[in-house]
């Protein structure tokens, strides 16, 4: 199999990012250079750049840590035996939660930065093309595909439009909500006039009181868990059933296509 980079038509930045990549080799295969029509016939495209992949896996491990520690903050483990001075279990759990919270937040800020400086696929998460007819036709196609009404899936270099919608509404909105409510709750411990209180303290009266913010933050966790379940399932399923690679793409960065047929 040969590796082709052939994205010059659609998107300027994308072309730049790929021509800068030493792995991207131009080969025979697709000679029809007409814009738009042939972009999906190549067999491999460099989609996810290294910082983006690093961000993905850092977020994965942070969110796992956050969900486990967060759950045990809400419903603590059975009582520790011995004296209080010999134990610090809740302290460690909370420490892990706050540390992972910081990591996921800073990584998310870095991810937003990468949306500006990275390739066009780095922007997909934040900007689903909600006002494009093609986008919604592809969403419909994807829904039909998941309802077993389509026999053949389409090829996508980046996210498919339905995935993009899910990423935006479940993940981007969900994680933003968790970061804001999380730091609002964290500010309660840091105290009045702390940086977190200055930035996020307004959330608490907005939602009623501290207890309400706790409840919403808790519900937010289940929202993200639901997202993760669907995300992992769909990634595995698509990896098997669709016409492109999914899981290995988030490891190595290359999108492999299983056939050379057009859409």
């Amino acid at each position: 199999m040969t590796t082709i980079s052939n994205e010059k038509g659609g998107n300027g930045e994308q072309g730049d990012a790929q021509s800068a990549d030493p792995h991207a080799i131009q080969t025979e295969g697709t000679q029809a250079q007409e814009e738009g029509s042939i972009t999906r016939t190549q067999t491999a495209v460099y989609v996810y750049e290294a910082p983006l992949r690093l961000w993905h896996w850092v977020t994965v491990f942070s969110i796992i840590t956050l969900c486990i520690t967060g759950y045990f903050i809400g419903a603590p483990l059975p009582t520790m035996p011995g004296e209080a001075i010999d134990n610090y279990l809740m302290g460690y759990i909370r420490f892990a939660h706050f540390t992972a919270g910081y990591i996921v937040s800073i990584a998310f800020l870095g991810r937003i930065y990468w949306a500006f400086v990275g390739n066009s696929h780095a922007r997909e998460l934040f900007l689903p093309k909600l006002f494009s007819g093609k986008f919604w036709r592809e969403v419909t196609h994807e829904i039909r595909w998941y309802l077993f009404l389509e026999k053949t899936p389409k090829k996508y270099i980046g996210h498919n439009p339905l995935g993009q919608l899910a990423m935006f509404f479940f993940f981007v909105i969900g994680l933003t909500f968790m970061i804001i409510t999380g730091f609002a709750l964290y500010a309660e411990g840091l105290g009045r006039e702390s940086w977190a209180d200055m930035m996020f303290g307004w959330v608490i009266p907005l939602m009623g009181q501290s207890q309400d913010v706790h409840t919403w933050h808790h519900l937010g966790m289940w929202y993200l868990i639901t997202f993760v379940m669907i995300h992992v399932y769909v990634a595995i399923r698509e990896d098997i059933m669709s016409r492109q690679s999914l899981i290995s793409t988030m490891i190595g960065g290359w999108r492999m296509f299983k056939d050379d047929k057009p859409d």
């Binding site: 809400g74 483990l77 809740m90 009045r192 706790h214 409840t215 519900l219 289940w222 059933m241």
Partner: protein, 358 residues
């Protein structure tokens, strides 16, 4: 009273020695977190300043705020502040009653226009034109608005006036609302709690009377000096929380050893109040010290947060009362089942598809 006395004169008239007076000033300075240099300033202010009249109104309430107030640990506060108030208007505590009492209210409003402090205990019901709370033949709402019009500042005593409390709990048939919903043009100091701690109440009044200005307030309008930290932040059982040592049931070993009450529903981690530092009844104890979790009485809508003995709040919006974990697990379980079913169908379809190809 023909001429306005100073605070000091009122105190001396009540038989309080100068020594006790100075002691009171330094204690108040300490209670307000002002440091020792402020004690002489408070003394000076109380010696020279004319006392500020306070009108104390009662709406829909249970009088627990008044009950707390008259038990203020420091006897001077009780004698001085309370006598000052009774000189003006407090229908529960004043000697006069009926039309005589209402006349005094009117007189005070006229005489000290724009200068008096309005303290409100309880809140007004709005439903049925406010007919659920009648004072002197008129809805309390009218009296409140009338008295608030010429007040310098308004103190919202307790959770009723600050948030609504029990009478505003779901489904709130009388449509009781906190006073900031009807008084919108005056500074309001919220002193929530059901009731608020006596020393907090007298501390707030003393601060306003001596310095002639409002204490610094937080986002929700509560004095920062008493409501900046959660019960949890200063709880003497906090080390057991950090250690992960909890009371699991009310009669277990942990309960006897005084472990953290987090798991049996203590709302200390979400409640802003001074209970764990100032404590109650002359600093004797507070609920957690007595072995019962905090119920969060100084927080907005604390009646509507489910059981006092559950850690997680019930979410009523879903029609059924369930907490975040129950809802979350149900949703995650449903999604898990859907994913499994979808995976099974996908596998079957793929097998069929392969069969078709061959």
């Amino acid at each position: 009273m023909s001429q306005i006395e100073t605070f000091y004169e009122v105190m001396r008239r009540q038989g309080i020695t100068r020594r006790s007076f100075l002691k009171y000033c330094s204690l108040t300075a300490a209670a307000l977190g002002l440091g020792p240099t402020f004690a002489p300033k408070i003394a000076n202010a109380m010696e020279t300043k004319e006392r500020t009249p306070v009108i104390w109104l009662h709406g829909l309430e249970c009088t627990c705020c008044s009950e707390s107030f008259i038990r203020s640990a420091h006897p001077l506060v009780k004698d001085v502040v309370l006598s000052m108030i009774s000189l003006d208007y407090d229908d529960t505590l004043m000697a006069s009653a009926g039309h005589q009492a209402e006349a005094i209210l009117e007189e005070t409003i006229q005489k000290y226009k724009g200068k008096y402090i309005l303290a409100v205990e309880g809140n007004p019901p709005l439903n049925e034109d406010g007919m659920f709370c009648i004072v002197g033949g008129k809805p309390f709402l009218d009296q409140l608005k009338h008295a608030a019009k010429d007040a310098a500042a308004v103190i919202a005593w307790g959770s009723c006036a600050s948030w609504g409390c029990v009478q505003a709990a779901r489904p709130n048939p009388t449509q009781a609302v906190p006073i900031h919903k009807v008084i919108t043009d005056k500074p309001i100091i919220k002193v929530p709690g059901c009731p608020p701690i006596a020393e907090v109440m007298t501390g707030v009044i003393t601060y306003m009377l001596t310095f002639g200005r409002l204490p610094e307030l937080d986002r929700q309008g509560r004095p920062k000096m008493f409501y900046s930290q959660r019960i949890h932040d200063k709880c003497y059982r906090r080390p057991h929380f950090d250690a992960g040592q909890f009371v699991e049931e009310w009669d277990d070993e942990g309960a006897r050893k005084g472990y953290c009450l987090y798991k049996v529903g203590c709302k200390g981690p979400t409640t802003y109040n001074a209970c764990s530092t100032v404590r109650w009844n002359e600093g004797t104890s507070f609920p957690i010290q007595a072995g019962h979790g905090c119920i969060g009485c100084s927080e907005d809508g604390f009646w509507d947060k489910g059981s006092f003995y559950d850690r997680l709040t019930d979410i009523n919006q879903f029609g059924i009362e369930q907490n975040a974990d129950e809802i979350g697990m149900a949703v995650a379980g449903g999604v898990g089942a859907a994913v499994t079913a979808h995976a099974a169908v996908s596998a079957v379809k793929r097998a069929q598809h392969k069969g078709d190809q061959e």
